[in-house]
């Protein structure tokens, strides 16, 4: 071993000195020590090597076995090569912090993955963010049982280190922070859930990662691309995303089939081309294939011939694209690699792909750098063919076959294929170009859908709604499961009895209702032509006329129809608190009973008015079970069935309001009415058993109300909670009424409704 160090001492001597400096007796270290130091002396300065050994020594002495030392010895030189030696003190600080906490076991995965992480975060500053994030995660995920000291190791930390490179491939450092934050906040005390989240196994973990991704997401731009395809290519194919980037081993290419055009779900900017433009160029290429390419029988060709035909055909459609849309040329040129002519040693590896990529470049780019005679000859042939018109898939295939015959080399048969710079970003996999005669075990034979066993469901499958997390200002995707069902039925006669009790009130309401009933005729004044003379104005005009001024000629009036066009949903909070009793008159009555009376009266009133009206109740038992119970549908009239359901109303569980509002809004939105009103009758603030932060559900409900407003729904709350002022405004803005005197609810509710809809 003739290598020498800077000091000039013989290598073996130097290694021995270093070995002493390391002061470690792990036998595993001996095996790799020399190789590591060779690497280190190549990457590090003399001081750097010394600091390296010092740090390794510390790791060996900390009493966690040989693994941390080995990981550090092996990884640090390459890490230092990326971020520089100066990062060592910061990393050492992190290591020390890990060691002092109960998380020393996580040191090894931390070190093992650090090189891969550093490759994604080459800037020192970004790496520092990563280290800070590590510290924070450690602090927040290590649990303690009694107070101050962190006693239990974090389960999240090792998983986080292991996933680090994958995460950073898809997320920026800010996105990573968001992702970590989400996991910590939502699973603060469930080690198992934490593990699932941080190892990227749980569904929401992936969903949040998807949301935080960098780059241009297909879902965000689907409409834009669909418009592009329709406008520029007169093509209506469906765009279907496939996951790109999650599994690096599985490389998928864009393609199209009977279902539609399959595109990667996310594109980063590349070669100065924005993600959206990469999508557009890809779509242009695929649409051009759909327009100009015709499939061929594949069985007649060797794989190499097929590759050549595909390349020529790709170039043909690109040429045709540029005839219509010459502005795309700069994107093509930017995205098409320029393989170096001498990059590939044709003796050692198969250079066929490489030659085709160069050819493809030359066909696209008039200023290509290649001097190969065969290539230039075929570029000329190609241009001659294209000069004559659109050419065809078959004609171009013939040209490709000639190229293969002329350009064949012995080395093309070699097993190692030269791949560098031969993949053309915007092109699809050309599966549409080939028809196979022999149906064998092709892929599609396996994908026949299996008949599913019909299972008996005792209720409808749940609907999932997001929930707003005000701390991160983002939605938790599909957070709440909502089950809807028909409310069980009771004895409708009870409701009739309640109504009879309020006969007097009902008569008074009736008078108000008659006033409110659609007048259908509205007077329009100041018309030149109209059905009647508007006397006031006619007299005024005459006076003007007599006094010599110009009279107003618009002295008539006419009428127009003005019908009520209103749809209403009443959403009842059926939580446990409704069962409380309040003093009414001499005796006691539960709020539930009063609500029944009020709702019955309201339902009766609205029925009189003829507005479409639905009633539903809700309660919740954690986010996994929000129940939404239909009491009256829009199509139902106020009859025995509805009364029966109202009579069976019961109070139970808690109030998760946001999801219920979202669900009620869904059906209300579908109504075709000019005005849509969502009335919410509640007796307390939103709360649920699995939520400790009381602001959370208030903010979520507020968000749901905002969503409604954006979609043209008017949301109004009637609260029976005397202390509602503290929060109800935060949810409903100014659109609420607090009814302090609950015993007057049956009277107030219909009156309020009428006032709202007058």
């Amino acid at each position: 071993m003739g290598a020498e160090t800077a000091q000039g001492a013989p290598w073996s001597e130097q290694v021995r000195v270093w070995r002493t400096q390391l002061d470690s007796r792990f036998p595993q270290v001996d095996k790799v020590f020399e190789a590591c130091l060779l690497d280190a002396s190549a990457h590090l300065s003399a001081e750097g090597v010394s600091a390296y050994l010092e740090q390794a020594r510390w790791l060996g002495k900390m009493g966690r076995g040989a693994e941390p030392v080995l990981a550090f010895l092996e990884e640090w030189p390459s890490i230092a090569g990326i971020v520089g030696e100066s990062a060592l003190p910061d990393i050492a600080a992190t290591l020390r912090a890990l060691w002092k906490s109960p998380n020393a076991k996580a040191i090894t995965p931390f070190l093992q993955n650090l090189a891969a992480v550093a490759r994604r975060l080459p800037a020192r500053e970004a790496l520092q963010h990563y280290l800070d994030l590590t510290r924070e995660l450690m602090e927040r995920s290590s649990n303690s049982i009694h107070g101050i000291h962190k006693t239990f190791a974090s389960v999240a930390l090792p998983e986080f280190f292991a996933q680090g490179p994958t995460l950073l491939k898809n997320l920026s450092i800010d996105g990573l922070r968001g992702w970590v934050d989400y996991g910590l906040r939502n699973y603060p005390s469930h080690p198992e859930r934490q593990r699932a989240y941080f190892s990227l196994q749980s569904a929401d973990s992936r969903a949040v990662m998807q949301r935080e991704r960098h780059g241009t997401l297909l879902v965000d731009n689907e409409r834009r691309l669909q418009l592009y395809l329709r406008g520029l290519w007169q093509d209506d194919a469906l765009l279907l995303p496939y996951a790109a980037g999650f599994a690096p081993t599985e490389k998928r290419q864009p393609h199209y089939d009977a279902q539609g055009i399959h595109l990667p779900d996310v594109f980063d900017d590349a070669a100065g081309v924005a993600g959206i433009d990469r999508y557009r160029v890809m779509l242009a290429h695929i649409a051009a294939h759909r327009r100009w390419s015709r499939p061929m029988i594949a069985d007649n060709f060797s794989p190499m011939q097929r590759l050549a035909i595909e390349t020529f055909e790709d170039s043909r459609v690109d040429t045709l694209i540029l005839r219509i849309y010459p502005g795309l040329r700069r994107y093509f040129l930017a995205l098409h690699p320029v393989p170096r002519e001498d990059a590939c040693d044709q003796q050692q590896v198969s250079g066929f792909r490489h030659r085709l990529a160069m050819l493809s470049r030359a066909l696209l780019d008039d200023h290509h750098p290649y001097r190969d005679e065969l290539l230039i000859e075929f570029v000329r042939f190609f241009r001659e063919i294209m000069a004559a018109g659109d050419s065809s898939s078959d004609e171009i295939a013939a040209l490709a076959l000639r190229y293969v015959a002329r350009g064949r080399r012995q080395s093309d048969q070699l097993a190692t294929v030269f791949f560098t710079d031969t993949e053309i970003d915007y092109r699809d996999d050309n599966r549409h170009l080939w028809l196979f005669h022999e149906l064998s075990d092709e892929e599609e034979m396996f994908s026949q859908p299996r008949p599913t066993v019909a299972t008996e469901l005792d209720r409808l499958p749940p609907r999932h709604y997001p929930e707003w997390d005000y701390q991160t200002q983002s939605y938790r995707p599909d957070w709440v499961s909502l089950y809807e069902s028909l409310h069980p039925s009771g004895d409708g006669a009870d409701i009739d009895r309640l109504l009879a009790k309020h006969a007097l009130l009902a008569r008074r309401l009736k008078r108000m209702l008659d006033l409110l009933r659609p007048q259908e005729r509205e007077r329009i004044r100041y018309r030149e032509d109209g059905s009647e003379l508007d006397l006031d104005i006619a007299v005024r005009s005459l006076i003007d006329f007599k006094s010599g001024a110009t009279p107003d000629q618009r002295i008539n009036m006419s009428h127009r129809h003005n019908g009520r066009n209103l749809a209403v949903t009443l959403l009842l909070d059926l939580s446990q608190s409704l069962a409380e009793k309040v003093a009414v008159g001499g005796g006691e009555q539960s709020i539930l009973e009063l609500s029944q009376e009020a709702v019955s009266l309201l339902a009766w009133s609205v029925d009189q008015l003829g507005d479409p009206f639905a009633i539903a109740g809700f309660h919740s038992d954690s986010r996994h079970e929000v129940r939404y119970l239909h009491l009256k549908g829009f199509g139902e009239s106020w009859g025995e069935a509805v009364k029966g359901r109202l009579a069976a109303m019961q109070a139970a569980y808690s109030t998760r309001m946001g999801a219920a509002i979202r669900h009620a809004a869904l059906s209300l939105r579908a109504r075709k009415a000019e005005k849509k009103l969502l009335l919410i009758l509640t007796d307390g603030q939103p709360s649920d058993v699995d939520v400790t932060d009381e602001r959370l559900l208030i903010e979520d409900a507020h968000k749901a109300v905002e969503e409604n407003e954006r979609q043209g729904l008017f949301t109004y709350c009637i609260s029976l909670d005397r202390d509602a002022d503290a929060y109800v405004g935060d949810i409903f803005g100014t659109r609420y009424t607090v009814i302090d005197n609950i015993e007057r609810l049956p009277e107030r509710l219909p009156a309020l409704f009428m006032a709202l809809t007058r």
Binding site: R223, G231, L232, Y325, D529
Partner: protein, 274 residues
């Protein structure tokens, strides 16, 4: 007194003096001439800016008839068409509306965008458009027998009006109809060249852009880009504006506020004008 105040206005002012540029799409000119020979009321249908008004103007010039155009709107009343009494210090004076004037002097009366007018306004044309060919002016107590050269033409755009705005069958069935659409590519190119004097390549590019935009109709666009706007774009380019800017200004910004569509069309402009 009253009789003198009827101003038989100068029919010459309604003449179309210079030949308007009109590119025939098929045989519509001959057909119109036949319709005019029989004095049949004519309806021209088609999307906005496809050349309806230009066609009517061209025909008036070709036939040598005065042309009186009325742009209809929803506040227009029957008296805006027929005429009204004006109040003066010492009495009243009758003033003919444009429809009455046309009927008196034997002009072609063109009611543009007639669906915009209210239903009760539209019915005053009924007696003019059947065998009677009279116009009762009830306020004045006159039954006007129309001039033999008078013809009524209405235009309407079946694309954009709502359910509430449609012509009644009893109105529709009084007219023979010409259905206009944006001309095909070659013809539209000729129109652009004829109107603005741009060269063939540019006309071609503008037209292919127009075709791309029109494909988005119903997918966020209520109406495709009109030939009129293409002409504007061509005129701007002819006047020295860079093609991209001219197209953005004349073809994209006026027709949409939708960001996705705007981006797509901007990209289309970049793709077409290399």
């Amino acid at each position: 007194m009253e009789k003198e105040s009827i101003v038989l206005c100068d029919r010459e002012q309604f003449r179309v003096l210079e030949e308007p540029f009109y590119q025939q799409q098929s045989n519509e000119v001959t057909l119109y001439e036949a319709a005019y020979a029989a004095r049949l009321p004519v309806m021209v249908k088609g999307p906005t800016g496809c050349g309806k008004s230009r066609f009517v103007e061209f025909m008036a010039w070709r036939l040598g008839r005065p042309l009186i155009t009325v742009a209809c709107n929803e506040d227009m009343t029957a008296s805006d068409l027929v005429g009204r009494y004006l109040l003066e210090a010492n009495g009243t004076r009758w003033l003919d509306g444009p429809l009455t004037t046309a009927a008196r002097i034997g002009a072609i009366c063109y009611l543009d965008e007639v669906v915009e007018a209210r239903q009760d306004t539209v019915v005053v044309i009924h007696s003019l458009t059947d065998h009677r060919r009279t116009l009762p002016i009830d306020k004045k107590g006159e039954l006007l027998r129309v001039h033999p050269d008078f013809q009524l033409v209405i235009s309407y755009n079946p694309g954009y009006q709502s359910l509430m705005k449609d012509l009644k069958q009893s109105t529709k069935q009084r007219f023979i109809a010409f259905d206009f659409d944006y001309p095909d590519m070659a013809l539209e190119r000729a129109v652009l060249q004829g109107e603005s004097g741009v060269d063939e390549t540019l006309a071609e590019q503008l037209v292919s852009l127009g075709v791309a935009v029109r494909r988005l109709k119903g997918h966020g666009l209520d109406e495709g880009v009109s030939t009129r706007l293409l002409v504007y774009a061509a005129t701007l380019i002819k006047g020295g504006v860079a093609p991209r800017d001219a197209c953005r200004m004349a073809l994209v910004r006026p027709i949409t506020d939708d960001r996705d569509i705007r981006d797509t069309l901007d990209h289309a402009i970049d793709a077409i004008f290399a």
